[in-house]
């Protein structure tokens, strides 16, 4: 493989990894760089075994695997599906400001016990415990208007109404003009 292309591919992998770790807010620059370098080292080893896979893929798969493992361990005492632990963990770090309290802990060895306890206490819910009530509309009697509407509209069509209205309007005006003609003021 072209050495320049390889160097560019590893640059891309490093850049992507650092961007990802920064976006996760897992610690300061020094901590993120240290974590990233360790991951890149492992990715290089894997790339040597599977050169057909791009460095960025190796690197990011390792990063995501490590994150999954780390948060799995951090939230092992919390009852939740394994698939949700990463999400809950990232939110937990943000909510508890854990990164400021344990600046070098995330992805660096096993999570400290007090950090685990802090994350386990995070309450991240859309509402308090449900207290279900039955809220159903009561039957409403709309009175005469409803009766009238039901009787009218159950077999309703606009055309006859418009025709009838036109006929009656014509009759009305004809009557008025006849009256005016017969009994002029």
């Amino acid at each position: 493989m072209d050495p320049i292309a390889t160097a560019a591919a590893w640059d891309e992998a490093m850049s992507r990894l650092l961007s990802f770790l920064a976006a996760m807010h897992i610690g300061g620059v020094e901590h993120r760089t240290r974590v990233a370098l360790a991951m890149i080292d492992e990715a290089r080893k894997q790339h040597a075994l599977k050169p057909e896979v791009a460095p960025v893929e190796h690197t990011m798969h390792i990063a995501l695997r490590d994150i999954e493992q780390w948060f799995g361990e951090a939230l092992e005492n919390v009852e939740m599906p394994a698939s949700r632990r990463v999400a809950a963990g990232i939110v937990g770090l943000r909510v508890t400001d854990a990164v400021n309290r344990w600046p070098n802990a995330v992805l660096d060895g096993s999570p400290p016990a007090d950090l685990k306890a802090t994350l386990a206490r995070v309450s991240f819910r859309t509402g308090p415990d449900l207290a279900v009530s039955s809220m159903t509309p009561r039957a409403m009697d709309y009175g005469a208007m409803e009766t009238l509407a039901q009787e009218t509209w159950h077999r309703f069509a606009w055309a006859p109404i418009v025709r009838a209205a036109a006929i009656w309007t014509a009759i009305f005006f004809a009557a008025l003009y006849t009256y005016d003609y017969l009994y002029p003021r």
């Binding site: 961007s19 976006a23 999400a87 991240f124 039955s134 709309y142």
Partner: protein
């Protein structure tokens, strides 16, 4: 020692006296006005055209009389030191001590300005803390937003807000998967899930702000009066920038006190509910106030759009009182920024109010509620009636004029009426403008709060001129709304444009308001040919129609609003720093800091996929899918591949939502976005990746 008011001791005589005096005045005034009009017709004998005018006049004049007497009784109570029968006077300072019963502050939202909504909540939370009343209140943001970016933005804003205020477990956010029955359905959904945990709920609009002090006082009013089911406050308009908003908030501040006091005078415990800025007793609300279906034949139209008035009627029907804490300060909302948005809101309200017609004759509905419903229906129907009245009146006058010329008689109908027409005209003008004058009179002692006597008087005159010119334009559009609704056209609940940083363009204004000048041109031409002498009489209306687009354009310009503020015109007390509550100041500060990160196309899905925090927050809030049928799995798989490979524009909003509701898909997309080599991503996603890298670079540099 001042005696507190005890609502349960109101006697039937007291109520009867108030209602008899109020409605007696309306009936008497309407009868007098009708008699005067009748007199103008009598000399020549009443024609069918005149009968039609008389019938319309009764309906229209009673509306003017109602407004007039509301203000008059409000004025009378104001000069007598305020109404003693006010729910707010039922509590003392000692009632504000002690623990607060569980109270939920419920805020249904729908594609709103997220920064503004969460800014309001933060301000209220801090207001409660300052009032020492934070403990009893939980906040619920109930989202029905149907734009992905609104949804994701709301989630992130909620997370940051809770973190900042340390309010996890006290401020909740819920997004409904199926937004059934709009706002009322959203509140009902809250009641079904969590209502039993709370004794009271305070329902707010997305743009509502209430001071901590007022929230505390409302709870105290409910605690003191177990028979009260609902207390409505008067939300004052605030935070306006455009001339339109500033003018309306000035007008509301100036005129509303008299009208609201007059309203409380007659209805007492039979008040109305305006849908927000009100406290509700949750148990009877759950038990009695779920909205019934309407008996209309078309299934699509069976749901009640405008729930509030009906809920108040149902609460009264169940035997609970509904009061109006009209004089309590600290309740705010924002108005529409321009004439166009105001009419958009009216279009929705019009549909809701017309639906209330069904309840007008329903057995068991309290008299006061029937009158509220009647006023609501008339607020829009009257425009059509006015239009018909004007057309008939003009034709009638033109016909009379021609006859008088042909018969060579002294044909001036005004002279023939024996002075009835001028008297009626003067009486109508007095009834329309005296309430404004009295409001001004009542406000003069506190003119300093409105910028001084000269700005107060000048503002009142200017507002009167502008609102008089706008009224005929509103009449046309209200008539159009009524007719289109009666013809069966749907009106959807759409988010308002609450931002007033950008005014209407001149051409845009003409595009929206072309109809009134067009009608004015046609009517003026016709009148020039057939009824030239009546043009002068119609001139205020014609002028309003001609100027409609220009008025809409001018009043929407934020810079003009800023200029008016500097000249202290339309100034309201809340615009003076020392009179502005802390809560409003806080909201004002927050809305200055607009978040641009969510303003690009497909920002929601971009953040959900690319931002690890946004992705995690979103996934953590989604319900875990129990099982997935094979077809659904394949469909989701095809959608997510399409999203990454063809970009978000390849999917429609429904498909975006399908993916956003699926936690597994989002996890997959997030993983693929970060692991795929750049050249295997769609250019749109490559841009997102570049942004993420640039953002990380900045963070590192910082």
């Amino acid at each position: 020692m001042k005696k507190t008011f005890q609502p349960e001791k109101i006697t039937a005589d007291f109520v009867a006296f108030r209602r008899a005096s109020f409605f007696g005045a309306i009936i008497g005034t309407t009868a007098l006005g009708t008699w005067l009009l009748w007199r103008t017709f009598v000399p020549e004998g009443i024609t069918w055209l005149e009968w039609a005018q008389l019938i319309l006049f009764v309906l229209l004049f009673q509306q003017i009389a109602t407004g007039f007497w509301l203000a008059m009784f409000g004025f009378l109570t104001a000069i007598c030191g305020g109404d003693r029968a006010q729910i707010a006077r039922s509590i003392e300072d000692t009632d504000l001590e002690g623990p607060i019963p569980p109270t939920a502050v419920v805020i249904p939202i729908f594609n709103e300005d997220v920064v503004r909504v969460f800014g309001g909540i933060e301000a209220m939370w801090q207001g409660l803390r300052d009032a020492g009343a934070q403990d009893g209140f939980d906040f619920f943001i109930l989202s029905d937003s149907n734009k992905p970016e609104s949804w994701l933005h709301e989630e992130m804003a909620w997370l940051e807000l809770c973190k900042r205020l340390n309010a996890f477990g006290r401020i909740f956010y819920r997004k409904r998967r199926t937004p059934r029955n709009g706002k009322s359905g959203n509140v009902a959904d809250f009641c079904r899930r969590w209502g039993a945990r709370y004794r009271y709920m305070i329902v707010l609009d997305a743009d509502s702000v209430m001071t901590g002090q007022l929230l505390r006082r409302l709870v105290a009013m409910m605690e003191k009066n177990p028979r009260v089911g609902l207390v409505q406050t008067t939300p004052q308009l605030a935070l306006g920038r455009t001339p339109f908003r500033r003018m309306f908030q000035f007008a509301a501040k100036l005129y509303a006190p008299l009208f609201c006091a007059g309203s409380n005078y007659w209805h007492l415990f039979g008040g109305n509910y305006w849908g927000h800025n009100a406290i509700i007793r949750v148990r009877p609300f759950i038990e009695y106030c779920d909205l019934p279906d309407l008996p209309e034949p078309d299934v699509k139209r069976r749901h009640i759009f405008s729930h509030d008035t009906v809920e108040a009627a149902l609460m009264r029907k169940a035997g609970y009182d509904v009061w109006f804490a009209y004089a309590e300060p600290g309740s705010y909302e924002e108005g529409p920024p321009n004439f166009s948005d105001s009419l958009g809101r009216d279009r929705r309200w019009c549909l809701g109010n017309l639906q209330h017609f069904w309840f007008l004759f329903a057995p068991g509905v309290d008299f006061a509620n029937r009158f509220h419903i009647w006023m609501g229906v008339m607020a829009y129907i009257s425009s059509v009636l006015w239009l018909v009245f004007l057309v008939l009146g003009t034709i009638d006058l033109a016909v009379k004029h021609r006859f008088s010329l042909l018969s060579a008689l002294p044909g001036d109908p005004i002279a023939q009426s024996g002075g009835a027409i001028p008297l009626l005209l003067v009486a109508t003008l007095v009834m329309l403008f005296l309430p404004k004058f009295l409001s001004l009179l009542v406000s003069l002692p506190k003119a300093r709060q409105f910028g001084g006597v000269i700005p107060l008087v000048a503002g009142t005159i200017l507002e009167t001129i502008i609102s008089t010119l706008m009224a005929p334009v509103m009449m046309i559009y209200y008539s159009r709304f009524v007719i289109s609704i009666l013809a069966g056209l749907q009106v959807k609940w759409e988010a308002q444009n609450r931002s007033d940083d950008k005014g209407l363009g001149f051409l845009e204004s003409w595009r929206i308001f072309w109809l009134p000048p067009f009608i004015a041109t046609v009517v003026t031409s016709l009148m020039f040919v057939f009824a030239r002498h009546e043009i002068l009489l119609m001139s205020p209306i014609l002028l309003g129609w001609f100027l409609g687009p220009i008025l809409a354009w001018i009043t929407s310009q934020p810079k003009l609003g800023d200029f008016l503020l500097r000249t202290r015109l339309f100034l309201v007390p809340e615009e003076i720093d020392e009179r502005c509550p802390e809560e409003l100041k806080k909201v004002h500060q927050i809305i200055q800091a607009d978040d641009q990160n969510w303003k690009f196309p497909f920002a929601g899905v971009a953040r959900a996929v690319s931002d690890p925090l946004a992705n995690s927050v979103h996934v953590a809030l989604l319900r875990q899918r129990r099982h997935l049928v094979e077809e659904t799995g394949e469909y989701l798989e095809s959608l997510r591949s399409k999203l990454l490979e063809a970009g978000p524009a390849a999917l429609d909003t429904r498909q975006h939502f399908t993916l956003l509701w699926d936690a597994d898909s989002l996890r997959w997309l997030h993983r693929e976005f970060w692991t795929r080599p750049t050249d295997k991503l769609h250019p749109w996603w490559q841009e997102r990746l570049a942004e993420a890298t640039a953002g990380a670079g900045k963070a590192s540099a910082g």
